[in-house]
Symmetry: D3
Subunit: 228 residues, 6 copies
C-alpha cells in the first residue's frame, strides 16, 4: 500500500523530516512517499496562502493517484485543496487537521491547538469553532521552526497557557512542528499531545486497509468541464 504525503508548499526542506517520522510509525505494509510542490507559497500561514497552494496540491494529488497511490494525506493544518481532492480522487484523502482533532476528541473534552504566527489563529479558530476550545500561537513564522530549541521553548509556554485556560488535550497545529521531545513534554505537563502526522497516518492507513474512502454522496465527482 502506497501512502502519499503531500506537503503543499514550494520547498522540500521538511520532506526528509516528515518521511523519517512517518517511517517510524507506519505499518509494515505501508510504503510512504513524501511530495512537496514546485509552485505556490513557500509556507502556509493564511487563507490567502491556502488558496494559492490549493490547485497545486490538487494537481499533485491527481498525479499521485495515477502513479499508484492508495491514500493521500494533505500535510498542512490549513488543508489546502482537501475537499477538492475528496471529490476528484477515488482513493482516500485525509487532512492532518481533521485527523488530529478527531483523535484528540477521543482523549478529552476540551482541545487546545497550538498554531504558528498570531495571524493564523483566527482562521483555525473559525474552521474549528465547534470542535476545539482554544487556539493559540507560538508567534513564530513556519520557516523559523528549523530552530527547534526556540520552538520547543515556546510550545511549552503555550501548553501551560492552554492548561490554565481549561484545555485537557493539546494538538500541534502545524505539520512543521517536528523533531521536538514530545514525550518529555507529555510527562512534564501531564497532558496528551497529538502530533498531526501520526494521527493522519493512522487514519489514512485505517481507510486504506478497510477499502474505505470519502463518501461519494458527500463528495460527488466534479462534473467534467472546460478549464482554461
Amino acid at each position: 500500500m502506497i501512502l502519499d504525503i503531500i506537503v503543499p508548499v514550494s520547498t522540500d526542506i521538511w520532506n526528509k523530516g516528515i518521511e523519517s517520522e512517518a517511517e517510524k510509525i507506519k505499518g509494515q505494509d505501508t510504503k510512504v512517499r513524501v511530495t512537496s510542490l514546485t509552485k505556490g507559497p513557500v509556507s502556509i500561514e493564511s487563507e490567502y496562502d491556502e488558496v494559492l497552494a490549493g490547485p497545486h496540491a490538487v494537481s499533485a494529488a491527481e498525479e499521485l493517484e495515477k502513479n499508484g497511490s492508495n491514500g493521500i494525506i494533505i500535510y498542512c493544518f490549513g488543508e489546502p485543496g482537501l475537499h477538492a481532492c475528496k471529490e476528484k480522487l477515488s482513493i482516500p484523502v485525509v487532512g492532518i487537521r481533521e485527523a488530529a482533532v478527531s483523535m484528540a476528541k477521543i482523549l478529552g473534552d476540551r482541545i487546545g491547538v497550538i498554531s504558528t504566527i498570531g495571524n493564523a489563529v483566527p482562521r483555525h479558530a473559525r474552521a474549528l469553532r465547534r470542535e476545539v476550545y482554544k487556539v493559540v500561537a507560538v508567534d513564530m513564522p513556519v520557516l523559523d521552526f528549523v530552530n527547534v530549541e526556540e520552538l520547543e521553548k515556546r510550545i511549552e509556554i503555550k501548553i501551560r497557557e492552554l492548561i490554565d485556560y481549561g484545555c485537557d488535550v493539546v494538538v500541534l497545529g502545524c505539520g512543521s512542528m517536528l523533531d521536538m521531545d514530545i514525550e518529555r513534554m507529555k510527562d512534564k505537563y501531564g497532558i496528551p499531545i497529538v502530533i498531526p502526522l501520526n494521527a493522519a497516518v493512522a487514519v489514512c492507513e485505517f481507510l486504506m486497509k478497510n477499502n474505505l474512502r470519502q463518501s461519494r454522496l458527500a463528495y460527488p465527482f466534479p462534473p467534467e468541464k472546460e478549464i482554461k
Copy 2:
C-alpha cells in the same frame, strides 16, 4: 464609488446580464464594473472547481483594488477565494452566499436554497448547515441556464418542494439564475425569494458608504513571503 463584481469563471457570457441587473438596483453614486476570468473553470459546480478558480479570483481582486475599486463582490454561491480576498485586500469584499443568507434570515426562520446540479447540494449543505434548513437542486448544469424557460419551470417545482418541507424563505443558490420573472413567482407562491446579486450589492454598498471592511482581527493581512 466603484463596486466591482468578479464572476469567477472563464467565460463572459453572464457579464452583460449581471451588469444590467446591477444597474437597476445600485445606488446613484455607485459605478458597477463586472469582470470575469480568463483562466480557470468555465463554471463552478464543485469544490474542485472552486479551488481551481480561487487563485484567479484573488488575483483579479488584487488587480481591481489597484485600479481604484471601493468594494468587491465575489459573484458565485461557492465564493471561491472570498476569505483570501478578505485577508489580502483593504477594501470590503462580500460573497453572494453570505449576503443572500444574511438578508434571508431577517425575513424568516427556515431558509431554503435552490442550487444547480444535484452534485452541488452536499457542498452548499455542508457550508450552510447551521444557517439554512434545506438545500435542493434544479438538476441543470449552470451553462444550461441560458434556457431561462426551462430553468424557471424547474425553479417553481423546487419552490413548492421547499415550502412543503417547511421553508419560509427561498434563496436562489447560484449567480447565473438570471432573467426570470421573480415577482410572478413571489406572488404565486407567497414566499420571499432572495436574489443573491441584489443582496450582495446592498451589503457591499452599505460597507462602502460606511467606510467598513472585514475586520483585520478576523482576517489578518497575509505575511509577505516567496510565492513560486
Copy 3:
C-alpha cells in the same frame, strides 16, 4: 419610497439627530420620516420598558402603513413590537438589532455589543446568546447620552475591553449613541464599528427596492378578533 423610522420612546429629543444621520446615508429615492411616541416609557432600558412601549410602537407602525409607508425601522436595540409588526403589516419591518448584527457577522467572527446601563446587559445577552460573543455596557442611562463627550470616552474604554476579550467587530447596542466621531475610533482601534441606524437603513432599503417583506409563512397575519 417612504422609509419610516419609529423611535419607540415618548420623547422626540432624538428625532432630529436620527433624521439628520439618516439623510446622510439614505438612497436618493428614499424619503425618511422619523416618528417617536406620545405614550409609553421615555427610554427603553429593560424588558419591562419594551413591553410597555410595544403596543404604542405597533400602533404607530399600523398608522404609518396607512399613511403610505413603504418600510419601517423599529429604532431601538430592544426592538419592542418588532415581531408583532412583522405579522400585522404588509410592508417590510426591520429592527436595528437584527440589521446591525447581520451586517457585523459579515465583517468578522466574534461580535461585541456595547449597551447602555449595566442592567441592559442580560436582556441583550439572552436575546443574542447564539449571535454575539460579548455584551458590555457603558453604564450610562440613555437620557444622559446627550453628553456625547462622556459617552464617547466610555465607548472607547469598552471597545478596548471587547478587543481584549477577543471580539473582532463592535456593534453599538443602542439607537441613541449618536454624534460621536466613529471614524476616529475605527482608525484608532483598528476594528469595524457597526452603527445600527446605518445597517437598518441599508437592510430596509434593500427590502423596499426588491419588493421583499417578512415571510407570511414565518409571520402569519394575526387573526381578527375582539380587542378590548
Copy 4:
C-alpha cells in the same frame, strides 16, 4: 401561600375551569386565585396579540403582588409580559410554556407541542426551536375550545402525528385545552402528555416553598423613569 394565575385575555370564560383544575392539584397550603384581564385581546394567537396583552398582564401582576401574592403564573403558552414581570416583581413569576417544556424534557428526548391555529405554529416553533422537536396545531381558534369533544378528537389526531414523527413526549401548547380526558389518551397512545397548568403550579409552588425567585442578575430591576 397565595398563588396567582393570570389569564392574559379579556374574557373570564376560562377562569372557572382553570381554578377548578388548579384546586385539584395544588398543595394544601396553597391558595389559588385566578385573574383575567379587562383590556386587551380576547384570546392570544399571535405575537401581535401577545404585544397587546403584555402591558395589561404586567399591570395585573404588579397589582397582585401588592395584594399579597406569593407567586404568579402567566397562564398563556405565548407568555405575554413574562420577562417584564420577572424583572419588575420580587416574587417568583413562571410561564406555562417554560414550566411545561422543562418538565417534558425530564420525561423524554423529543418533545412535541400541540398548538391552536396553524398560524400559531411558527411563533412557538421560533421560541422553542432548540427545546422541542415539532410543533403542530389542531387548527381551531382558541375560543372554539369550549367544544371539548371536537378539540379532543383533533388532539388525538395530532398525538398520532407527533408519535409518527418521532416525538416521545406531548405538551399541550395552550392553556385553554381543558376538560379533556387526558388519562384515556395517555393510556391509548402510550405517551406522556404534559398539561401546562399542572406543570406551572408545580414549578411555582416549588419556588414559593423554597423562597426562590428569578435571579436579579438575569432579570435586573427596571430603572425608574417617566412613563407617559
Copy 5:
C-alpha cells in the same frame, strides 16, 4: 403516595438528614422513605464510583417498586443507574441533577454548579456542557461534608467565584451538602441557590400526582434475557 429516595452509597450517615429535609418540603399526601445501599462505594466522586454503584441502585429501585413505591429519586448528582431505572421501572424516576438544573434554568440564564472534589468537575462539566455555564468544586471529599462549618465557608467562596464568572443561578452539585444556612447565603450574595433535594422532590411529586412517568418511547422496557 410513597416517594422513595435512593442514596446510592454504602453508608447511611446521610439518610436521617435527607429524610428530615424532605419532611419539611414534601406535600401532605407524600410519604417519604430514604434508602441507602449495603454494597458499592461509600461515596460517589467519579464515573468509576458511578459504575460500581449503578447495579445496586437499580436493584434497590426494583425492590422499592415491588414494595409499593410511587416514585423514586436517585439521590446523587452523578445519577448512577438513572436511565436504567427509567427503562426498567413503571413508576417515575428522577435524578437530582436533572431536576435541579431544570428548575435553575427557569430562574436565570447561566447556571453555576458547585461540586465536591476537583476531580468531579470534568465529569459533571461533560454531562452538563450544554446546560450549565460553569462547574467548580469546594475541594472537599464528600465524607468530610459532615464538617458543615468548613463546607459552608468554602461554598461561599465558590458562590462569589461563580458570580464573578458571570453565573446568575447557583446549583449545589451534591446531595450531601446539607444543613447549611442557605437562606443567609441567598440574601448575602443576591443569587438564587437551588438545592437538588428540594427540586427533585418537587419534580417527583408533580409526576406522581399527574400520573406521569418517563416515556416508553424514549426509555423502552429492557428485553428479558439471561443475566449471570
Copy 6:
C-alpha cells in the same frame, strides 16, 4: 504490544469471530486478546443491560491492565464502563462507538447508524444526538445475529433507508454484526460502511504506538475509598 478486546457480555460465542477479524486488520507488532465476561447480561440491548455489565467490564479491564495490557477496547456499541475505565486505567481505553463515529465523520457529513432491536434506537440516538443524523434498527435481538444471512438481508434494507433519508456514511451499530460481505454492500450501495471493530483497532493502535492515553485532566484518577 498487547491489545485487549473486552466483549462485555456473559457469553463467549462472539470471541472467536472477533479475534479472527482482528487478526486480519491488526498491525504486525500487535498481539490481540479477546475476553468476554462470566457475569452480567448475555447481551447488551438497553441502558439497563449496560449498567449491569458495567462493573464486570471495568473489573475485567483492571485485571487485564495488571496482566500487561497496552490498550483496551470496550467492544459494545453501548460502551458499558468506558468512562470508568478511562478514569481508572493508565493505558488507553477506547469504545467502539466513539471510534466508529470519529472515523465516519472523516468520510462524510451525515452519519447513519444501524442498531439491533428497535428498543435500542432511543438510547443510541440520545447518546449520539449531536454526532449522527439517524439511527435505525434491524429489529433482531443480538443473539439472533448468528443467522448471518437474515442479518445481512435486513442490513441492506436499512442501508437503503438511511440513504433515502439523506445519510452519506453508514456505521454498523453493534459489535456482533460479523461475517457479512461488507465489500459487496459497499459496492452495491455506493456508500462507505464503517465496521466498529476495525475503527477501534485502528484508534487503539494509534494511541498505543504514540504513547497516548485519555487525558487525566478530563478523566481524573478516582479517589481511593471503601467499596463494600
